[in-house]
């Protein structure tokens, strides 16, 4: 029997979601005391951890320093136990390097780096469990961690992936949906200004469909934003009550 039915005639996906529904998001901020900022996020079965250090002085070669803004240093890795088969190299392979670069681009666009000339901000993200949308989970986790560290940003950076199957955009793809091989798009959005921090696409999608998919993706990002915002507010309230005592 050919393949899986990714979207049933009744409009349900394999895991029971409708096309525009996100997976369940759960997140916590400030999970590690040692780091300047940290956060943990679960988007369905994709679990990611982000840790932020800085801003601090440039480490290593001083020549890297920029006189007008901070250097954003990112590292993306995947835990060896994050996938079904044990991963050999947690980071440094082609895919991870690419992901690292994407994260760097995303956050250079969002962090107000000009406030910290000649300094450095380190963002470390790790996928603990991978089930699709790794980049997006990392971005969302890193956003929370940066907030936790108190580093000013233009806006939240919210990311969500979107696929396109049978003329319908599916948001927040799970691993099986990604593996089906259709076109997919990852969008990182600054929701208030609707500015795009990063847009990445796999396989071919005709430009006529792009708008539809993009609309669905930015709608999904705003949904992610609503959840993240709630998390941040709850966290702040929690910290306030603790401090208040």
């Amino acid at each position: 029997m050919a393949g899986l039915e990714l979207l049933s005639d009744q409009g349900y996906r394999l895991d029971g979601r409708k096309a525009v529904e996100l997976r369940k998001i759960r997140a916590r901020m400030g999970v590690f005391a040692q780091a300047d900022g940290s956060a943990y996020i679960e988007q369905g079965n994709t679990k990611a951890l982000a840790v932020v250090y800085g801003p601090h002085e440039i480490r290593g070669s001083r020549s890297k320093a920029l006189h007008d803004r901070a250097v954003v240093n990112c590292q993306y890795s995947m835990a060896t136990f994050s996938t079904g088969e044990r991963k050999r190299r947690p980071h440094g392979d082609r895919k991870s390097s690419e992901m690292t670069l994407h994260l760097k681009q995303t956050f250079e666009a969002a962090i107000l780096t000009q406030l910290y000339p000649r300094s450095q901000i380190d963002i470390y993200v790790q996928i603990l469990q991978a089930d699709g949308g790794n980049y997006c989970a990392c971005v969302n986790a890193a956003t929370l961690a940066i907030m936790d560290a108190g580093i000013p940003m233009r806006d939240y950076v919210c990311a969500c992936s979107t696929g396109f199957i049978e003329d319908t955009p599916l948001v927040d793809l799970s691993y099986i949906e990604e593996a089906a091989g259709g076109p997919q798009l990852a969008l990182a959005l600054l929701p208030k200004s609707e500015q795009i921090a990063l847009l990445e696409m796999n396989s071919r999608l005709h430009e006529d469909h792009l708008e539809k998919v993009l609309d669905a993706a930015s709608k999904a990002c705003r949904d992610v934003y609503a959840v993240l915002d709630r998390v941040v507010r709850d966290h702040v309230q929690e910290v306030c009550t603790l401090l208040g005592e």
């Binding site: 005639d9 029971g16 996100l22 079904g84 088969e85 089930d131 199957i165 005709h206 430009e207």
Partner: protein, 952 residues
């Protein structure tokens, strides 16, 4: 937009990999009942007062079939009487993984609003989802899930409507039914329920008879070895104990079959199976597992013809005698790898056409059904309408084949009409060749443009206005689906502009919608002798797309700048609007070209085209393109009775080849363009070179006439065919070409990313595709979409860029084209029969096309008819036969037959078997003492019809 959802993790362990998947449960899945006040649904489909009157259940009710009922009783569920059915997601998913055809059928049923079928997504419903328990099999779990869902429905309906409505489980599984009753659910077997329906007693005939294997075995003698279960078969195949292959029954001998082994193994590719026990209930096209027999038990393919004539059911002794007969006729040198079927990997049953052989016992309700396809065994069915159905063509589906039964069991599906009727027989041949021919469904038609339709400003985007050009179309007379039109005019720089304009079908058929899916499935328009089964609805094929000369039409144009040597200087593709100035027939176009008085723009254009076409053709032939031949005939139909009254061979004019030449040119140009743009996913057509051994018969035959055919290349073949002339025998060349055609391979569609050999042997072109007939070929629609994307006139869609999807499409198209060809042949054969029926006995001259061991194949050019003259006949003394394979010749008594010899035969229609009427040929000249038919025996024109037998 997160809903509050509980979520449960499902762990599926397969092999070493642990797969964890999320599974969301929802509380916004509604019941689908009209008038339910609890559910917030938009379009409920289940009627609030279902009207199936059952003697078992007097209250209005919905029925919920389980997986097996749905799989086996789909014929019943499709009946218009059955309405208000709840199909559970659990059931639908199981059906999907177990049978693709049934899945498609049930989906069609669900989409029909008048059937009121509702799909309940129970696996994602918070109250109906269950987890598999420890030690519970997947099947048991699903059965339980179904029961839970029925229970939920009953509770839900009760809450809302009181005690009025009910949901009933239909299951044939005894255990499941018992458990359901225990849990307080009303459950019936399918049989119980259908028999209880008050208004519709005839539905019972359509019930599939599924017997409980265990139960059957206790009664009656076991005739067959048990089939080995699938899991053990798979192990055996892996370890090499068993071989997996496709079972192909022999057409001529019901005790023999061949299994084509899957995979690339060189040896034992083809395994012979002989004898009922070894065939072990496998049916033509099944995927089976076979075990090889030891070498000393190998058998030879028998050359005798055996038809199953037994009326007496379980007469195995008789069979054994026949099997001995097989062995005795086998010669040692012919022994082939042999085996026996040990198990079935996948059944490929379909509904079969055929006729009922009524049981001789008067009150019997069990009868044997004889399929029209000889490769299918007879099927035992139960019906109370036997005397009505006798003499009709009916459809029967197989339900199973128990071990103690000589024949498989099945059930009656529907009747097609009286055998021999033209409509009935046409229906039969369409069904037997799997040609989708039902009227287009409402869903499909809903995607047609709304009439009156006209070209709007918006459509002109990306489109050139070519309405000023002198475009005309040239087609056979009576053609209403005009795909192509042409123009040609002089350019100021001294060159010529030539345009091929093709109907813009892809403008009307958008990817992925129901209309597109339907035409994709149909794949091609099928032309029968007096009927056309359209690939796209009539509104498109004969009106909006057809490039008639009655107004503006959208087209896809391929325009070249060509010099007078027919060299292409420039190629341009564009979507366009054209206005054809004339729809000509080949004859009319020819007349204009030849006329000395006509000098209008259309005529000038035609002359230009004709001149270029001749150069193009010559160049193509110089490169080695083949001109082959097949005798084609057309029937002249009586306008009142639609019976064929005369035959005529197709006449070929210069203009035929003129149009063809430009179509070829357009196809090649487009093929290059789409391949350059989409090297991985271009849909192309190739024609592989045949293996040299295919030509043996051609070379030998030519040699016997002192002619030489060279086969080292297509060019050599073409040249030697041209030279193979015989002044005293002008028809010889045509015969050689007919023979050469038979040596060729089939041309096929393929996806460029999946293949490396693109060559088109027959056209001597390195690359080729089909672009010019989108109204009647789906391949061309895909090619149009690719070309439109390549020039930026339309957009791509993910499936178009997916080479695996495209390869799947190609596979279907190749299958449909083959089937279309077969059904066309069958239709010609049927009409030839009608023709000879009215004509009586005819004596005609013909040529021997092949000689066989005990027969000669004769071609009668006048009728384009081919037939076999057998020299061995029942109830006749056998003449002395000697067959020489080398030349080849067949010597009968003292007359020697060579290929291409001229003979005279008598043609009659043999109607003794109503299911397989046949044209019979008997030798008149040359004389063979004691064999020939006397010239004037049946002077009244009636062949003997007394020996009427139901089947032979």
């Amino acid at each position: 937009m997160l809903k509050s959802k509980t979520f449960v993790k499902k762990t599926r362990s397969g092999g070493v990999l642990k797969i964890v998947r999320e599974h969301y449960l929802r509380d916004d899945i509604w019941c689908g009942c009209v008038g339910c006040s609890t559910c917030l649904q938009e379009n409920p489909v289940l009627q609030s007062e279902p009207v199936m009157e059952s003697a078992l259940c007097d209250k209005p009710h919905y029925i919920l079939p389980d997986t097996n009922v749905l799989l086996h009783q789909i014929d019943i569920l499709e009946d218009p009487v059955i309405q208000n059915v709840i199909v559970l997601q659990t059931v639908l998913q199981e059906v999907r993984s177990r049978s693709a055809p049934v899945y498609k059928r049930i989906k069609d049923v669900i989409s029909k609003p008048e059937k009121h079928f509702y799909t309940f997504t129970n696996e994602h419903h918070r109250e109906t989802y269950i987890e598999r328990e420890q030690g519970e099999s997947a099947n048991d779990r699903n059965d339980r899930a179904i029961r839970i869902a029925v229970k939920w429905y009953n509770a839900h309906l009760k809450k809302d409507s009181g005690d009025v409505l009910q949901a009933i489980l239909i299951t044939n599984d005894r255990r499941n039914k018992e458990k359901a009753v225990e849990a307080g659910i009303t459950a019936y077997t399918c049989e119980e329920y259908i028999k209880s329906l008050i208004a519709n007693p005839e539905l019972v005939d359509r019930l599939a008879c599924i017997s409980d294997e265990q139960h059957e075995i206790e009664s009656g003698r076991i005739l067959f070895l048990e089939h080995i279960p699938l899991s053990r078969l798979q192990q055996g195949i892996k370890s090499g104990t068993y071989l997996q292959g496709t079972f192909r029954a022999s057409r001529d001998n019901y005790l023999e079959a061949t299994v084509w082994i899957h995979g690339d193994a060189e040896e034992n590719k083809e395994i012979i199976i002989q004898g009922l026990r070894n065939l072990n209930r496998a049916i033509h096209e099944d995927i089976v597992a076979v075990e090889m027999l030891a070498k000393d038990q190998w058998m030879a393919p028998s050359s005798i013809i055996l038809q199953d004539e037994g009326q007496n059911e379980d007469d195995m002794e008789n069979e054994e005698e026949k099997e001995k007969l097989l062995k005795s006729t086998a010669s040692k040198s012919m022994l082939k790898p042999s085996g026996r079927v040990v198990g079935i990997i996948k059944r490929n049953w379909r509904p079969y056409c055929g006729m009922l052989s009524k049981s001789q016992i008067k009150e019997a309700t069990k009868h044997l059904f004889t399929p029209a396809d000889r490769r299918i065994p007879r099927i035992r069915i139960e019906t109370r309408q036997a005397s009505v159905l006798e003499g009709q063509r009916i459809i029967v589906a197989i339900d199973g084949w128990p071990r103690n039964s000589r024949y498989p069991n099945g059930h009656f599906v529907r009747s097609l009409g009286t055998a021999g009727d033209k409509e009935t027989e046409t229906e039969v041949l369409l069904l037997e060749h799997d040609v989708p021919h039902q009227p287009f469904s409402q869903v499909v038609l809903s995607f047609l443009p709304k009439m009156p339709w006209s070209i709007t400003e918006k459509d002109m985007k990306h489109r050139e206005d070519l309405r000023h050009l002198y475009v005309c179309s040239v087609d056979p007379p009576g053609c209403t689906d005009i795909d192509d039109a042409l123009h040609c005019h002089n350019l100021e720089n001294g060159n010529l502009e030539v345009g091929v304009h093709i109907a813009d079908v892809s403008y009307f058929i958008r990817p992925g919608n129901a209309l597109d899916q339907e035409s994709e499935n149909r794949g091609t328009t099928v032309y029968l002798c007096e009927k056309r089964i359209d690939m796209v609805p009539d509104l498109l094929s004969s009106n909006l797309c057809s490039l008639r000369s009655d107004g503006d039409r959208l087209a896809f144009s391929c325009i070249w700048e060509i010099n007078y040597n027919a060299e292409i200087l420039n190629t341009k593709f564009t979507k366009s609007v054209i206005r054809s100035k004339a729809s000509l027939t080949y004859a009319e176009a020819q007349m204009r070209i030849d006329s000395t008085s006509m000098n209008d723009d259309i005529t000038k254009s035609l002359r230009g085209l004709n001149k270029l076409a001749k150069i193009l053709k010559k160049r193509r032939i110089d490169k080695g393109a083949l001109t082959l031949s097949s005798p084609e005939v057309r029937f002249h139909m009586d306008s009142e009775t639609h019976d064929p009254i005369d035959l005529q061979t197709k006449e070929l004019r210069e203009t035929n080849s003129m149009v063809e030449e430009f179509m070829l040119l357009a196809n090649v140009s487009v093929a290059e363009k789409i391949y350059n743009e989409f090297s991985e996913c271009a849909l192309l057509r190739k024609h592989p070179a045949p293996p040299l051994s295919n030509y043996d018969i051609l070379v030998k035959a030519a040699k016997s006439k002192d002619l030489e055919i060279k086969i080292d290349s297509a060019k050599a073949l073409a040249d030697s065919l041209d030279k193979a002339e015989c002044s005293s025998f002008p028809y010889l060349n045509t015969l050689l070409r007919i023979l050469a055609t038979r040596c060729m391979m089939q041309a096929v569609y393929f996806c460029s990313g999946m293949d490396s050999d693109f060559h088109h042997y027959g056209l001597a072109s390195p690359i080729y595709t089909h672009f010019t007939s989108p109204i009647r070929r789906y391949s061309d629609i895909i090619v149009h979409r690719l070309l439109a994307a390549a020039i930026g006139a339309d957009c791509t869609y993910p499936e178009l860029m997916d080479k695996h999807k495209l390869a799947e499409i190609c596979k279907n198209l190749n299958y449909r084209h083959k089937m279309a060809q077969y059904s066309q042949r069958a239709s010609v054969a049927f009409h030839t029969q009608l023709f000879f029926k009215s004509k009586g006995i005819v004596s005609e001259e013909g040529y021997i096309l092949f000689v066989r061991k005990n027969a000669i194949v004769v071609l009668i050019p006048k009728f384009g008819l081919e037939g076999t003259v057998f020299f061995e006949q029942k109830d006749m003394p056998k003449p002395k036969l000697f067959y020489n394979d080398e030349i080849p010749t067949l010597t009968v008594e003292d007359v020697c037959f060579y290929m291409f010899d001229k003979v005279k035969v008598k043609i009659t229609l043999d109607a003794s078997n109503i299911q397989h009427q046949k044209i019979r040929m008997a030798l008149v000249e040359p004389q063979i003492p004691g064999f020939n038919v006397p010239k004037q025996k049946y002077a009244n024109g009636e062949p003997e019809q007394k020996k009427c037998k139901m089947d032979s």
